[in-house]
Amino acid sequence: MPDLLIELFSEEIPARMQAKAAKDLQQLVTNGLVDAGLTYASAGAFSTPRRLTLSVEGLTAESPNTREERKGPKVGAPDPAIDGFCRGAGVSRDDLQVRDTGKGEVYFAVIEKTGRPADDIIAEVLEATVRSFPWPKSMRWGSGSLKWVRPLHSILCILTDEAGATVVPVDVDGIVSSDVTKGHRFLAPDAFSVVSFDDYEAKLKRAKVVLRADERADMIWSEASNQAFAAGLELVEDKGLLAEVAGLVEWPVVLMGTIAEDFRSLPPEVLTASMKEHQKFFSVRDKTGQVVRFVTVANRETADNGATILAGNQKVLFARLSDAKFFWENDLRVAKKGGTEWTDALRKVTFHNKLGTVAELVDRMAKLSAEVAPLVGADADEAEAAARFAKADLSSEMIYEFPDLQGLMGRYYAKEAGLSDAVAAAAEEHYSPLGPSDDVPTAPVSVAVALAEKLDKLTGFWAIDEKPTGSKDPFALRRAALGVIRLVLENTLTLKLSGFVKDADLLSFFHDRLKVYLRDEGISHDVIDASLAMPGSDDLLLLVNRARALAAFLKTDDGENLIQGFKRANNILSQAEEKDGVEYSFGADIKFAEEDAEKALFAALDAADAKIAPAMASEDFAAAMSAMADLRAPIDAFFEAVQINADTELLRRNRLNLLHRIRTICLSVADLRKLEG
């Protein structure tokens, strides 16, 4: 069984695209081979900045012969039908066979395909793969029309068996396959030929190319950790950066450099952001958490062991950090004066052309924060002050340069401005939670401003009719609504949404978000609808507690059966009420009860009433549900023993009135009519 090796050699592939491209290459080629009738034992794909490589082992040498019989129209069928059948089967009319199927004579087509050698199939599949490769962005070059992520230079494509390697002839827009590749761009640029995957990987390594991205990442990580450890320091982990850097080099060489004393006063987050964003450096910190060194990964060895390269990188970093320090020091001067220069500047920054400036946003947030504060246990003045400072850092020089540090710099600057720790924390935390797994702030002032920020955003965008549609949510309003939900629930806050949200459509948007949120807890949407129909449902915490209790109740045997009993009672009653044109709410009288089961139900309803009313009053939904569960047996027994449509009208009406009591009691807990199934 031969092995297949393919390498697509190009100019530098963006690091972020390499891993997926390797997977796509594997999938497209192996699927194509299998579709054409070949099989294989195993396959693996690899990438470096300049190559995508696929190794397929144990490939069959040719596809099998196949024979297929197709049944066609009856003999004597109209010509167009017969011609159509021939076209579909790819045979001529003379080749059709006539067979008697017992129900008359019918045409049959026999389609025989002879197997094809693997290299024919590979050439076809590889060309199709190159021409339709799913790059996120691709380009043309020179005078050609072929598209690739960057200019494609060569294609290596060989089949290897016991007899040796042969080149699979492929020609894509004049790029003709061979068994030749090249080593490292600078360290070993010469071309060489290979005879198998093992030979390829080994020769590449001799030519200063590590084929496997994970191996390069491991080399970088272990060498960088070792160098940091040897200096009594610790490498700051950053998996995204590691993967990116591993995609920028074919021959990683780790170099560690020092950060000048001058820059140690900068917040470590600023150092890390500056080094990562602009230079793709790792941070190395000391025991106190101060970032004191950096690690850069070069793509080569040099005669001076990287001294020139490190010196160059250090110099670039010096310039970068000088900028950062310049921004930081300018910012500190503004912050120490209270930051009013920044808050004033926000008057000129548009938040949204229909929602005014950021300063106007801040005014609204401040007012709302003060309103929310007592509900979340925060001091109203402090919450307002926090909101007033929360967006100040957006005018700072540091955030202009590093937008990702918004909030975090606000915290530093708030402290410099002499504001309280709570206000400083709110400057950072009021953006949270950003995603479903992001931490929810718990400090009351932070919670107040975080709620105000999101509520203002939602009501504002609803007012100007910029709602999310389908997959489009450019202002992240779903995330904002989920943020409000999580802030309220995870801090167990009692906060009536209707106090802040007047728009019915926005309220139902909140309810939809809540359904999505609770779905992950295994609570279905009808349970939420049943809870939403109850009074006080704009209190999210109350609503969710009710839904959780109801969901738990429905999981019990009693719960499920009680719902059936309720539905039966409700259906009979509703039908009777519609027919008779009256509402049976006169109150049933026990003195007309005849059967034991009927009398027992009276007693059980009295007992349940006595428990449910106080439980509901104290919002103890679990107790109310459990009292309701006690009704299951008496209701079941009642329906077993008692005929509602009794002989006398008096008895019938009394029993319908009794059903009405069941309905009333059950509906006082949740609107069970909304439950499905």
Binding site: M139, R140, G142, S143, R150, L248, I309, V316
Partner: protein, 305 residues
């Protein structure tokens, strides 16, 4: 070992020699204010259509918002770009480029050169391409782009564009930390001049003018005039009634597009363009660029029969 150049101008001269030797027409800077070397008609217009092209040139470039009164070590409102454009992009363009670094004294055996993804887009020119920023020991020394579209037209064939930020590159090669300290001519010349001797006063003067003095009403009027004139030029019949020749006047119209673009940059530096208006202005310049591109492809240089 490559011998190291001694001055800013020597680096420019070596680049000129190198690209001349590689067959490029060495052009002179375009005589209008532009924001980048790409605006030179030798790039923007010549990247359109099917006619082969190879040019290299220095282009003085102006970015009014980057003015720092000459105080910042590497930020200037007036600086130089070195630009190379070859159509169709040759298969060995990366190697040609690396050769140019060698030519200005960057020893390939000692440095770490990297091609890092950087897609290029010019909203004002309606242009985009894919390529890299080239790093030398972690510093960006050039932009390398394969043009895909210019003025809304697909590029067929594709041009390869190289742009060197000359001051930054030269500071690196010469080991200078502040641009104003960089030797402009040979440091041993009888009258040795630094970059600061030549440009510091200019930077101060233009920074003040750009940020505080330029009359925005006049700039706005000029912008509108340029916009109108561009469209008016192209509205003329292609056949010149006087000579009877087909004369499209793509470049005179494009001059007005360049002017509009620079006037927009000046207005931006004066801080009189709001975030929302910004997009609208960029759209107006792009519309002009597109008109000019449409016109150029109807000319002989643009490949029209």
């Amino acid at each position: 070992m490559t011998n190291t150049p001694r001055s800013f101008q020597e680096i420019i001269l070596r680049l000129q020699d190198y690209w001349a030797a590689k067959g490029c027409a060495i052009m002179q800077p375009y005589d209008l204010e532009v924001g980048a070397g790409t605006f030179h008609p030798a790039t923007t217009l010549r990247s359109l259509g099917s006619v082969p092209w190879a040019a290299a040139y220095v282009q003085p470039s102006r970015r009014p918002t980057d003015g720092r009164y000459g105080a910042n070590p590497n930020r200037l409102q007036h600086y130089y770009q070195y630009q190379v454009l070859i159509k169709p992009s040759p298969p060995d363009l990366q190697d040609l480029y690396l050769g140019s670094l060698q030519a200005i004294g960057i020893d390939m055996d000692m440095h770490d050169i990297r091609f890092v993804e950087d897609d290029w887009e010019s909203p004002t020119l309606g242009a985009w391409g894919l390529g890299w920023e080239v790093w030398c020991d972690g510093m960006e020394v050039s932009q390398f782009t394969y043009f895909q579209q210019v003025g809304g037209h697909d590029c067929h064939p594709v041009s390869g564009e190289l742009t060197y930020g000359l001051e930054r590159l030269a500071m690196y090669v010469l080991g200078v930390d502040h641009v104003m300290d960089m030797p402009y001519n040979d440091p041993d010349a009888p009258i040795a001049l630094t970059y600061g001797d030549v440009f510091l006063q200019n930077e101060q003067e233009y920074s003040r003018w750009n940020f505080d003095i330029a009359d925005t009403d006049i700039l706005l009027k000029h912008f509108e005039d340029a916009e109108r004139e561009c469209a008016a030029i192209l509205a003329n019949e292609q056949i010149d009634p006087k000579t009877g020749l087909k004369i499209v006047m793509a470049q005179p119209a494009y001059d007005q597009c360049i002017k509009a673009s620079h006037l927009f940059n000046l207005l931006d530096a004066r801080g009189v363009i709001s975030v929302t208006e910004r997009q609208a202005y960029i759209g107006r310049v792009r519309a002009l660029a597109k008109l000019c591109a449409d016109a150029f492809v109807q000319t002989a240089a643009g490949g029209a029969a």
